[in-house]
């Protein structure tokens, strides 16, 4: 089980680095798709099955397609200026390392202390659905409003004006 974990983790990290590092936007989009897939696998391993499926459909399916579509639409060429100024990378990298240096040991220490709960939580559709429509009904409705806002906004912004 852990071997699979490390394999998927490796794929995940490589694709993440690929997203950040590749100069061509389309490559980074494709790397992102790879990354999303590996996250979906992770979900499955953590038996959040419903989420794994949703991840694949929503993220990989819908969002990435939209992104690729827009990339193609605007035929973005390679980033013309030198994408990665030396100083900026250095500093950002250093910052990232500092962040990790602070967070990772902290995570280890505090979460190791917390005992793994006995309940073997199963993220099946039924469980999630039951919870979603009873307890989380208010955020669910709010989320619907959120999507509505996104749709209306997107249409308003991107609609081509036909004016005389």
């Amino acid at each position: 089980m852990t071997a699979l974990f490390f394999l998927v983790a490796l794929v995940l990290l490589i694709s993440a680095v690929g997203v950040v590092a590749s100069r061509n936007a389309i490559h980074s989009a494709l790397f992102l798709v790879g990354n999303l897939m590996s996250v979906a696998v992770m979900f499955a391993m953590l038996n959040a099955h419903f989420l794994a499926v949703v991840q694949v459909i929503v993220y990989a399916g819908a969002i990435m397609v939209l992104v690729l579509f827009v990339l193609m639409l605007l035929n973005i060429k390679l980033e013309n200026q030198p994408a990665l100024g030396k100083l900026v990378i250095g500093l950002a990298g250093l910052g990232g390392l500092a962040f990790l240096w602070m967070m990772v040991p902290l995570l280890q220490r505090s979460f190791a202390a917390i005992p793994q709960s006995a309940v073997d939580v199963q993220g099946s559709v039924r469980e999630v659905g039951k919870l979603l429509y009873t307890q989380y009904v208010f955020p669910f409705e709010a989320a619907s409003l959120l999507i509505m806002a996104a749709v209306v906004g997107a249409v308003m912004l991107a609609k081509r004006r036909y004016r005389a």
């Binding site: 900026v88 500093l91 950002a92 910052g95 500092a98 962040f99 602070m102 967070m103 902290l106």
Partner: protein, 630 residues
């Protein structure tokens, strides 16, 4: 001190005040009426004074409390008048000679179109002088003190079109103000010590605690008050304003700068004799200053060519004599000389006025001469007064001057022991010089041939009448007052030491100084006219010194006025605008610049924003995670 509230006392100053206001208002339309209103007002004041003097029983004092000026936190002060023998004498001099000068001015200022203003100021001066003299406490005296300062400012600068005259007025006021500041210090110290400024209370309080540790206080107070006196009565440090005060019309010089205002210092010392007696060292200083002032003034008068300047310096010199007497502690002699001086100096000034009037505003003696024939009355009165001032036997000048020299020698003041050998000869030399320069002025004006190009004529009766009266008083004043004055003033100034009656021959004998002075004077300026030129060459430096008035003006300008002006400019330019304003605008600029620096972080690049946010997030995390308590 009984409270027989004699309202009449209130009327004395009231008449000149009303006169001043009426003269100004009525005078605006009818110019001539102003003169008569003013003269009438001062005459009525004189009448009231005479009536009061007559009605006043021996040893009595009138006291009149007009109203409580202010009472604040236990310090009450009444606007009150007090009329004792000393005040009587002063009031008689002020109102008497004042009225005469008013009469004289009516004619003198006849064709000056601003005369209603002149008479208003003159009456206002009379009002202030009376306040000064009648005041029952130091504060009312001080009110009069500064009031006369103001009127002298206004009258000196009366012909304000000429900026130098206006400057002279300002100089007079400022120098007086410096003296007044000294006077104020004296008052503060008295108030702090005794919580009162009323003469009676002060006298009583001081007599009660004349304890040794208070002596230094009396010394300092006496000295401060004397500084005030030097300002007002033109003694050494602060006398520079008097010669310039001649810029005013001549009656002003006569009234203010000869008879009344300049004597305020002497009156003040006489009034506070109980204080000065307790400060012998202070009195010594007064005497020394007085002698030196007299000497210097006399020397300067020697070389003056302007007739009024001569008389001005002579006044300074005679004031020196009065302060000698006061310094020696014999106050009645000072008052005696004050009175006699008022007579003949007023007469001299008015005489000079009628000469100037006659020669159509010619003041330089070198352009006069031989006026004896053209202006006999003026010449005669001028001659009598010259004799009086020189101190020739029967005239009043002799008695008072002789009394001063006697007082000086008499040595009442212990502190003066050592100095007498120096002071008495100097006084005598000064007396000699006085006689000399007065004869010089008389000779240059009236004897010899007329050097001017106007055609002088005798002044009208309204001008010559006062001259005659004053000359008469100068003649007979000495004899009459010599006897009665000491006893009259005894209740206020203490009984004088007895001295025998002199016979005529002794009189003549003692006035040898005066006779010698006149003799030498006549000799130089009538027949052997080239002698004075040779003398000047011989004593070279001394004569230039005297010619330039001992460079006092230049000294003050260099030491005080110029540096102060420079400091003022520096303070304004450098300190005010440079440093303080600079600091204020500086902080504003710092805030502005730091605003600009802060603005530069707002580059407009999303990348930069993201980076700054990331750094800030890291910092926050660091603070939280590691510092624990932040």
């Amino acid at each position: 001190m009984e409270q027989n509230g004699v309202t009449a006392l209130g009327y004395i100053p009231l008449f000149p005040l009303i006169g001043s206001v009426l003269a100004f208002i009525i005078g605006r339309s009818k110019r001539d009426a102003a003169g008569w209103i003013a003269t009438l007002a001062s005459a009525m004041a004189f009448a009231v004074v005479v009536a009061l003097v007559m009605a006043m029983p021996e040893e009595a004092e009138y006291y009149y409390r007009a109203f409580t000026w202010f009472s604040v936190g236990g310090f009450t002060l009444d606007f009150a008048f007090r009329f004792d023998h000393l005040t009587a004498v002063m009031c008689l001099v002020v109102t008497g000679i004042g009225s005469l000068i008013h009469l004289y001015s009516v004619a003198y200022m006849a064709e000056d179109e601003g005369r209603h203003r002149f008479f208003a100021y003159l009456n206002l001066f009379m009002f202030s002088m009376l306040l000064l003299v009648l005041g029952a406490n130091l504060l009312v005296l001080f009110v009069g003190w500064e009031g006369v300062g103001l009127c002298s400012y206004l009258l000196i600068g009366f012909w304000f079109k000429n900026l130098s005259y206006a400057g002279a007025g300002r100089k007079a006021f400022v120098v007086n103000r410096i003296g007044d500041a000294g006077f104020l210090f004296g008052m503060f110290m008295l108030y702090r010590q005794f919580d009162t400024l009323d003469f009676a209370e002060l006298a009583q309080a001081i007599s009660v605690n004349a304890s040794p540790e208070l002596l230094p206080l009396y010394f300092v107070v006496a000295l401060c008050l004397f500084v005030g006196a030097t300002g007002k009565s033109a003694q050494i440090p602060l006398f520079v304003w008097l010669p310039d005060a001649m810029a005013g019309p001549t009656p002003v010089s006569a009234l203010i700068h000869a008879a009344t205002m300049v004597t305020a210092g002497v009156y003040m010392m006489a009034r506070l004799n109980f204080l000065f007696d307790l400060a012998p060292q202070a009195q010594a200083i007064v005497a020394i200053v007085a002698v030196f002032t007299a000497m210097v003034a006399a020397l300067t008068a020697l070389t003056q060519n302007d007739i009024k300047k001569v008389l001005a310096y002579s006044t300074v010199s005679q004031l020196g004599f009065m302060f000698m007497a006061a310094g020696a502690g014999v106050y009645w002699v000072a008052v005696f000389h004050l009175v006699t001086h008022a007579f003949f100096k007023a007469c001299l000034f008015l005489g000079a006025g009628s000469v100037i009037h006659g020669c159509h505003h010619e003041q330089d003696m070198r352009h006069m001469g031989g006026l004896w024939s053209k202006m006999p009355i003026t010449a005669a009165t001028y001659g009598i007064s010259t004799l009086a001032i020189a101190g020739i036997y029967p005239l009043s000048g002799y008695f008072s001057k002789h009394a001063i020299l006697a007082a000086l020698e008499g040595g009442h003041n212990p502190a003066l022991e050592g100095l007498l050998e120096l002071l008495v000869p100097m006084a005598s030399v000064t007396a000699f010089l006085t006689a000399f320069y007065m004869t010089r002025s008389f000779a240059m004006t009236f004897l010899g041939s007329y050097r001017g190009h106007a055609h002088p004529h005798e002044s009208p009766l309204r001008m010559t009448a006062p001259l005659i009266v004053l000359a008469g008083l100068a003649l007979v004043g000495g004899l009459w007052l010599g006897g009665t004055l000491p006893h009259y003033l005894a209740p206020v100034l203490g009984s004088p030491a007895e001295h025998g009656h002199e016979s005529i021959i002794e009189g003549l004998m003692h006035s040898w100084i005066g006779i010698a002075g006149i003799g030498v004077g006549l000799l130089c300026y009538t027949s052997l006219s080239q002698i004075p030129a040779t003398i000047y060459r011989v004593i070279g430096p001394l004569s230039t010194l005297s010619l330039n008035k001992f460079y006092f003006d230049e000294l003050y300008a260099a030491v005080v006025v110029k540096p102060l002006e420079a400091i003022a400019r520096v303070l304004f330019r450098v300190v005010d605008q440079g440093m303080i304003d600079g600091a204020v605008n500086g902080t504003a600029a710092v805030v502005d610049v730091s605003g600009e620096v802060a603005r530069s972080t707002q580059t407009g690049q999303v990348r930069h924003y993201a980076f700054f946010m990331f750094v800030a997030a890291l910092l926050m995390l660091f603070l939280f995670v590691f510092a624990g308590r932040v």
